[in-house]
Amino acid sequence: MIRTPLRPLASVLRARQDGENPDVIERENIRLRHEQMRDRARMRAESRLLVLGVVFLCAFLTIGGRMGVLANSEPSEPRAGGAGADIVASRADIVDRRGRILATNIETYSLYAQPPQMVEPIRAATALAEIFPDLDADRLLKDFTGKRKFVWVKRKLSPEQRQAVHDLGEPGLLFGPREMRLYPNGRLAAHVLGGTGFGREGVHAAEVIGVAGVEKFFDDRLREPAQGHAPLQLSIDLSVQAAVERVLQGGKLLMNAKGASAVLMEVETGQIVALASLPDFDPNARPNPPTEGEPGDSPLFNRAVQGVYELGSVFKTFTIAQALDLGLVDPSTIIDTRGPMRWGKHRINDFRNYGPTQTTTGVMVKSSNVGTARIAQEIGIERQRAFLGSLGLFEATPLEIVEAKSGRPLLPKRWTELSTMTISYGHGLSSSPLHLAASYATIANGGYLVTPTLMKGPRGQRGPRVLSERAAAQTMTMLRKVVTDGTASLAEVEGYAVGGKTGTADKPRARGGGYYEDKVLSTFASVFPAHDPAYVLVVTLDEPVETSGSEPRRTAGWTAVPVASEITRRVAPLLGLRPVIEPGEIGGITLTSN
């Protein structure tokens, strides 16, 4: 590049000759050079801006174009990355404690119609009414020939029905895939499982949502795709549950009972192995809730969990266990059992007269109301309340089914001394058979609180202590005596050393005003084996009457006890319990001297 000098000699000389200032020339040249530099810099900056603008434009166009493509393209499954077995879109299965299926899903189809596409709507309507007898031909005809564009015909189809509809060859009848909840065991454990229904429905799929029982309690867990592959494991044992239901059904028929329930619970963990309530229902076709009559008589009603009843003499165990714990009595203390016992205008009577006195064991074995009430008087209002509260008898059970919340015990409004006395033998406080089972399990567990649960979980977690070990052991000995020489003699099962307590409670009239004379609720709460408690079984029969004798018998010893004993006989081998010879009482060493 040729630089123009700032002070060209020729111009300077000429300017000197003319007497001008040569610096002007230099300044002029500097100005021109600066102008050139400015122009160059400007050009360069402009071109840079242009390039930058083009780059940005391209970038924005690329991003915008990609967004447009993404927005307009059909979504597709990623082909390269293999989806593992960890994410499953269907509802998780429910299995029993040994992994046998209690609830699963099957693929089925729903049937819908698009009347505008139909060729022969009249023929289709009559043919559909033939295939599905529960559909009304006139109604279908009205839907198909009217202005509707879309009609649901049937929610679930069997494969045979689907084929029959297919054979009609009607282009306006269409199938949509549906996932259906199946309970392969039918009525088994219906009250535990609950049932499912369809939530939001579309043509291609429908939500399956739990409506009751475990299905509703664990709805979120069962629907979560990340856990879809892992079945929900319950503590229920399928074969034990089947045996319990079978025997209970037979017992309900033989004893002419209106309803029945049974709870079988592991003592150590509180896990429920079988929970039955009769009458029951089929969760595959869950009936609608009743709109009339007593809700308690509906098959949907879970008597073992929702039903709160005055359970009667089975509560004596708690009174006596507490008295033993407090040291007020020991098993051989003599208790005054002269009746009737008067309190204000109220009289407490025994079923029959058991003599003027009984030992504490005798009060329990003979089931003396008077004796128990006397012991309760010594315990007092506050201590009794605190003890029953610590057993969990004031709160609904924390069982993992939605119905458990409604099984809240009914307590007396004012806990007077009379309440203390009546509650001591099981009147005036209503609780569910499940509460009873958990409380008996607590006593059988050496006094550590047992919380009922339906989940199979680890062993070896102990609750807080609510009863001393000694009192618990003494109570268990008494419960065993009730069976060997008391009111529950029919409960004896060879090899399993059953211990338990009967309870026969008169049913209160529905509208208030006293109790029925001839309607009872008979209960048997048992523990087996008594010397090494493993299981608690509570059987409750509603309005039983045993008519094989000369006069009808309603006491639990004649109704609930034989049923419970048969359940124990059937179930104990299934639970893997070996029959054992009960350890006898160790003979006391007598000190002799001469």
């Binding site: 499954e77 082909r79 390269a80 293999g82 989806a83 077995a85 499953v88 269907s90 046998r100 299926i101 699963t104 899903n105 099957i106 693929e107 199946l182 392969p184 065991n185 039918g186 088994l188 399928l238 074969s239 089947a242 045996a243 079978r246 099962v493 060879e494 090899g495 399993y496 006989r569 059937r570 104990a572 081998p573 299934l574 070996r578 029959p579």
Partner: protein, 114 residues
Amino acid sequence: MRGFLFVLSAMLVIGLAFWAYRENYDTQAAQARAAALQDDIASARERLQMLNAEWAYLNRPDRLRDLAQINFDRLGLLPLRADQFGRIDQVAYPAVDPLPIVNPVELMAREAFP
């Protein structure tokens, strides 16, 4: 020399292009195969679930009880009872074989029959 390099790089480009082309088609084929396998897995899983459901349905306690009753004279099945539990010491030891004869002696009846 220069021409040789030119030809060599051209060959290289052609070779790489061919390689990329083949890899592309291999990838697509592998993806298609993976998708087909995914489909197979999904349908196998569906089938498995259906079979499990059917197994559970066929093994439902009601049905087994009815079958045991219908076939009672052939099978004689009854509910499990407590007295059916055995103990290890109730099982007899297997009979011991007689000791083997290692030095057999040849014998012959010499007595003459009358």
